[in-house]
Symmetry: C2
Subunit: 212 residues, 2 copies
C-alpha cells in the first residue's frame, strides 16, 4: 500500500512523523514523503529540515494520503500542493490529516458537508470550508479521516491500521513503538487543562500564528 | 537552554521528533540536531532523511542531550558520536535517551551502576554496560534520564519540562501539542499486550535487527 505524506515549509514535524512511524511498520507499505519539489523542507521551528524524497508529480495516485499541519498550512499559497491533494483524493482509499492539515483538506474542497477536526485552536476555521468542527481526537467520515492537534496522528495511524488489518496488527505496532502514554500532567485537551492554561496557549499560539 | 539531539544513519525518527516537538516549544530553548557531520541522515525505514544542521564539533557543550535510538544505535561504529556524548555529558544539566539510545549512553560509559530503560526488547542489553534494566516508562537517575521505546520520548520531554519549569509550562505544552492519547487498542507495553502479540513483535524485531 502506497502512503504519501506531503510536507512543506512550515510543517510541524510531529504531525508528519507521528503517523509515519506506525504506518511505516505495516508489512508491505511504501511510505513516501512528497514535496512540491523533491528536497528538504524547513519545519515550523526553524530547527529542523525533513527531506521529501519525491515531488508530488512523482506520486500521483497513492492509496493513502496523510496531510500534516503547521504554520505553512495556514499561509500556504502552494497551489501545486492543493491541486495534488485534490486529484490524489479522487483515487485514494483513505484521505487523512493531522492538526491544521485539515485546513488544507478544506481548501482542497474535500471537507464540504463533513464532520472534521483540527488543532483545537483552529477548529472554527473548518466552517469556512463547509465542515462541521468536532472535538473528537479522530473523526471518521467514510474515507476521510481527520485527527486533532499534533500528537493525535499516532492514534489516527493506529486506527487506520486497525481498520485495514485488524486488532492484532494494530496491537503489534502499538507495542513495537511502545505507545503506552504516561504523561506527567493531564492537560492534553482544552477540556482537561485548567482555564488559565487554555487562555495562555491560545494567546501564545495566536501571537505567533504559531505551529500546530 | 541549548538542547542537542544527535542523529545518525539508522535512527528511528519518532525517537528524535517525539521529544523535539515539546522541548522546542519551551521559551528560550535552542534545539540543535547534530550529526557526526552536518547534513542529512537516513532513518531506519529508508523512507525519510532528517537533516542535522550542525556537526557534533559545532555543539560541544549543550545543556541537554537527547539521544534517540534505532538500528544504527546497535551497529554504531561512530566513535566520534560516542566521544561527543561522553564529553558533552560532563557538562550537561540533563543527559537523556529514548529507546535504544540508552545503549549509546551505555557504550559511552554513562549508565554504569544506574537504573535505566530502553525499548523492552533490548532491555537486557543494558546489563552489558553495568546498568540495572527497569520497565518504567521514564527512569530518572540524577541528571541521567532514560525513556522506554520510541513514543516514550514525548512523556520524557514533558517530564523534563515539568522538572525545569514547573507544572504550568508542562501543561501548556502538553495542550499545545494536544497530547491526550486515545489509542484504539491497549497493547502499548509487554504487560498489556496479549502473549501472542509480544512473541510476534519480538520475532519480527529480532529478525530485522529492527528499528526502535
Amino acid at each position: 500500500m502506497q502512503i504519501a505524506i506531503p510536507i512543506y515549509d512550515g510543517v510541524t514535524a510531529l504531525d508528519a512523523i507521528g503517523p509515519y512511524e506506525p504506518l511505516s511498520r505495516v508489512p508491505g507499505t511504501d511510505v513516501r514523503f512528497v514535496g512540491v519539489e523533491a528536497g528538504p523542507v524547513r519545519c515550523d521551528t526553524d530547527a529542523l529540515s525533513l527531506v521529501a524524497d519525491y515531488a508530488v508529480d512523482d506520486v500521483p495516485s497513492p492509496e493513502v494520503i496523510v496531510v500534516p499541519g503547521g504554520g505553512g498550512s495556514r499561509n500556504e499559497n502552494g497551489d501545486a500542493l492543493l491541486d495534488w491533494i485534490r486529484v490524489a483524493h479522487e483515487t485514494t482509499k483513505w484521505t487523512t490529516s493531522v492538526c491544521t492539515g485539515s485546513l488544507l483538506l478544506g481548501k482542497a474542497g474535500i471537507l464540504d458537508g463533513l464532520k472534521a477536526t483540527s488543532h483545537w485552536i483552529y477548529l472554527d476555521m473548518l466552517r469556512e470550508y463547509g465542515a462541521e468542527p468536532t472535538l473528537d481526537r479522530v473523526v471518521e467520515q467514510g474515507k476521510v479521516v481527520t485527527a486533532a492537534g499534533v500528537s493525535s496522528g499516532i492514534d489516527m495511524a493506529l486506527r487506520l491500521i486497525q481498520l485495514e488489518a485488524g486488532d492484532d496488527l494494530a496491537q503489534a505496532i502499538q507495542l513495537s513503538v511502545e505507545y503506552d502514554p504516561q504523561p506527567p500532567v493531564d492537560a492534553g485537551s482544552p477540556q482537561k487543562a485548567p482555564d488559565h492554561i487554555v487562555d495562555l496557549v491560545r494567546k501564545v499560539e495566536q501571537s505567533q500564528a504559531g505551529s500546530g
